[in-house]
């Protein structure tokens, strides 16, 4: 029987590095191993330093190891081709085209990626050649939704066959026959002899909370986690470095908390001075992780050539942040764990202090806006206590779906629809797509509100964000081809289309909108942001700012810290060559960012006058 290992956790915690380290180790031990990523912004290829793509690909230099990156676009196209091939001959070309357009909607993408994912899990003849399949899964919120889908869909299908025979899964309405496949997938996930879940986390408050939440969510689905890897532990030798010493003390407190609150088998992994790339390096990391060998300071990085870092002027950066006679909308994009929330919070706090009426909001299902602000954030915009001009709101997909449902049902009731009809609508709205649709609907709502001077979006991790942002385009296309049963429906959709059009125009106008890519100066986050920026460029949207986070101050006392600084300098230069925007640097801080006072201080550091900028933290 093939066994499955799932790596889970917030983006940027070293999930991919750990998954690859395990994959190489197992393959070297003679197990035929496949590593699969379901992350739309995968970086498997970067770690193995070779092209992988949407098919099972042998990894050079590691016998018994194969890899695959599930590409949502390719998966969608394959799914559409498979579904439409029997219809091409029978239906007129115009109708096949309409069906094809219809299947290009967001629902199909979700269905297709998921379908591909379950192909690997279902124990049939598909992949008998592997002893072990390792999933380097997408970041937490998205992962959970993906894993939740089998349960929801099974229910959805049950409800559909019992009720009106309709589901809102759209193109997936035909999944009736695929039901057994999803049930098998879920059964395999629940079988402790077959599946292991490994949560990778940093010893930090937010990571602990998210891991607890994720474990709880899986528990509700009857899936029980088995192991933790606490990553990036500062080596004891760094206690002589004040910055790292402070962080190390913080880590010690959180390690105790993990012991007390997450009583699962736990392994620890030390913070390394260099990056993890290539098979040889993965084997070395394997020796550190599995065999307890000590980590050498990466000599190559230590002697790294000195590159002078050019810094952007505050004036340049402020021009991209401040409202300029009209409303300014800021999108903080980037991989999970790069510090999007901190960057968006300090920016929003600074804008509010400048007297701009500011709305701060998140579209990330695993949002921790409230943790950083130090006060709860709900699903309706509310003023932030202790600071004028600042409001905050969280778009929670589940809560948004409830609001959306209530609005539609209320509308139907007001039109005098009988309760039996309301019940049918209610059933239909109980589908996974409603959440996506509702979150998007709210996104559009906030993106069109005129009564703010500044709107700051702390967006979801890269791949998911791109899908959310591309939705307006998808929908306008969808509406063009949609066939209507009534003039009223047509008119209502015209209104919606116009609304989307305005949002698209706003997002494309650099005088109104700024896309700020947040990353830390390391290879993987830069490449991910770069790919995301290219994807955005295809819809006419270009980055206006880069935020480089966790920057280690220039002068360091230990070889370890200096090696990491040198590595960062190399990548700070790469950021400037890849992105033609001002770069805002946020230093690595001795403690976590929390509360308005600290955010205000950081805001000053980032956007205040030059005198403040020069002061050390």
């Amino acid at each position: 029987m093939t066994q499955f290992v799932f790596f889970s956790g917030k983006g940027g915690v070293g999930k991919t590095s750990m998954a690859c380290t395990h994959a190489v180790r197992y393959a070297d031990e003679g197990q035929r191993t496949l590593i699969v990523t379901t992350d739309p912004a995968s970086n498997l290829a970067d770690v193995f330093e070779q092209t992988i793509g949407h098919q099972v690909t042998p990894i050079a230099g590691v016998k018994n190891l194969w890899a695959m990156e599930i590409d949502p676009d390719t998966a969608t196209q394959e799914y559409i081709d498979r579904a439409l091939s029997p219809l091409r001959a029978a239906f007129p070309a115009q109708m096949v085209r309409v069906m094809e357009e219809q299947m290009s909607g967001p629902c199909t993408a979700e269905v297709a990626a998921f379908d591909r994912f379950t192909d690997f899990i279902v124990q049939d003849k598909t992949f008998p050649e592997f002893d072990l399949i390792i999933f380097d899964t997408a970041p937490t919120g998205h992962t959970i939704r993906l894993l939740e889908l089998p349960a929801e869909w099974s229910q959805s299908i049950d409800a559909a066959s019992a009720g009106s025979g309709q589901t809102c899964i759209g193109p997936a309405a035909a999944i009736q026959d695929a039901k057994h496949k999803y049930e098998n997938a879920l059964a395999a996930l629940r079988n402790e002899a077959l599946s292991i879940f490994i949560f990778v986390l940093h010893p930090e408050a937010i990571a602990i909370r998210e891991t607890k939440r994720a474990i709880g969510e899986l528990g509700k689905l009857g899936i029980y986690t088995h192991r933790l890897i606490v990553n990036s532990i500062i080596p004891a030798s760094e206690k002589i470095n004040p910055l790292f010493a402070a962080r190390s003390e913080m880590q010690a407190r959180y390690l105790e908390q993990i012991k007390a609150e997450l009583p699962y088998p736990t392994q620890r992994m030390t913070l390394l001075s260099g990056e993890i790339q290539g098979a040889a390096r993965l084997r070395q990391v394997g020796k550190i992780f599995f065999d307890g060998e000590s980590a050498p300071v990466d000599s190559e990085t230590r002697t790294g050539k000195t590159v002078s870092v050019m810094t952007s002027s505050i004036k340049e950066i402020r021009a991209r942040i401040e409202p300029n006679g009209q409303r300014r909308t800021l999108f903080f994009a980037g991989k999970g764990g790069v510090g999007k929330t901190v960057a968006s919070c300090l920016t929003a706090v600074w804008l509010a202090q400048q007297g701009h009426k500011t709305l701060l909001l998140t579209t990330d299902p695993a949002a921790h806006l409230g943790d950083v602000l130090g006060q709860p954030v709900g699903d309706a915009p509310a003023p932030i206590t202790g600071l004028q001009n600042l409001w905050a709101v969280k778009i929670d997909p589940k809560a948004a779906a409830e609001t959306y449902k209530a609005r539609i049902l209320n509308d139907a009731r007001q039109r005098g629809r009988p309760e039996s009809a309301i019940k049918v609508i209610e059933e239909e709205l109980d589908s996974p797509c409603t959440e996506e649709m509702a979150a998007f609907d709210q996104f559009i709502d906030y993106a069109s509100q005129a009564d703010w001077e500044a709107v700051v979006f702390d967006t979801a991790p890269t791949g998911h964000t791109m899908r959310l942002l591309e939705l307006p385009m998808d929908w306008s296309q969808q509406i063009d081809v949609k066939v209507f049963a009534s003039v009223e429906g047509n008119a209502a959709d015209d209104v919606a289309k116009q609304r989307f059009g305005q949002v698209i125009a706003m997002m494309r106008d650099p005088a109104q909108s700024t896309f700020a890519f947040v990353m830390y100066p390391e290879s993987t986050p830069i490449l991910e942001a770069w790919r995301a920026a290219q994807e955005l460029a295809t819809v006419g949207i270009y980055p206006g700012l880069v935020v480089a986070n966790f920057v280690i101050p220039p002068v360091q006392v230990t070889p370890f810290a200096q090696a990491r600084r040198n590595m960062q300098v190399k990548y700070l230069a790469e950021i400037r060559t890849r992105f033609n925007t001002p770069v805002l640097e946020i230093p690595l801080l001795p403690q976590e960012v929390k509360g308005l006072e600290m955010l205000a201080e950081l805001g000053w550091l980032a956007y205040g006058d030059e005198v403040h900028q020069a002061e050390p933290v």
Binding site: Q94, M95, M103, A421, E428, V495
Partner: protein, 120 residues
């Protein structure tokens, strides 16, 4: 290339008796239009009509090209209309195997008339 998708094949042993009233819908995200940014009231009317017919113990089925292509393919009259008129043909209403309305949804009265006309 992976094997063809099996979604459209019928599960053996689950043959459903033919419905008295069959609606061949135009392509929609979902049958009531709830997936769109606005509710389509006509489609809600249709949904209510179907419930009314079901209360009379009539079997009603709805088909869309993408989800139930076999229902289209196996009805010669429907496919003839689809080839001739393309999108304009939809929705098509079939009562006891006979096409009774093309290009618009019927009313409950129209369905009753058709049922009485073909009463067996």
């Amino acid at each position: 290339m992976p094997e063809p998708i099996t979604l459209f094949t019928t599960i053996p042993g689950q043959a459903v008796p033919a419905a008295e009233v069959e609606l061949f819908d135009p392509p929609m995200c979902c049958p009531t239009g709830l997936c769109g940014p606005a509710l389509d009231q006509t489609l809600l009317d249709v949904s209510e009509m179907i419930m009314a017919l079901q209360r009379e113990n009539l079997r009603v089925a709805r088909y869309q090209m993408t989800s139930h292509p076999n229902a289209f393919l196996s009805n010669v009259d429907v496919m003839k209309l689809v080839r001739e008129k393309q999108m304009e043909a939809l929705p098509i209403t079939v009562v006891r195997g006979t096409v009774v309305k093309v290009g618009a949804y019927p009313s409950v009265a129209e369905i009753h008339t058709a049922l009485n006309g073909t009463a067996s």
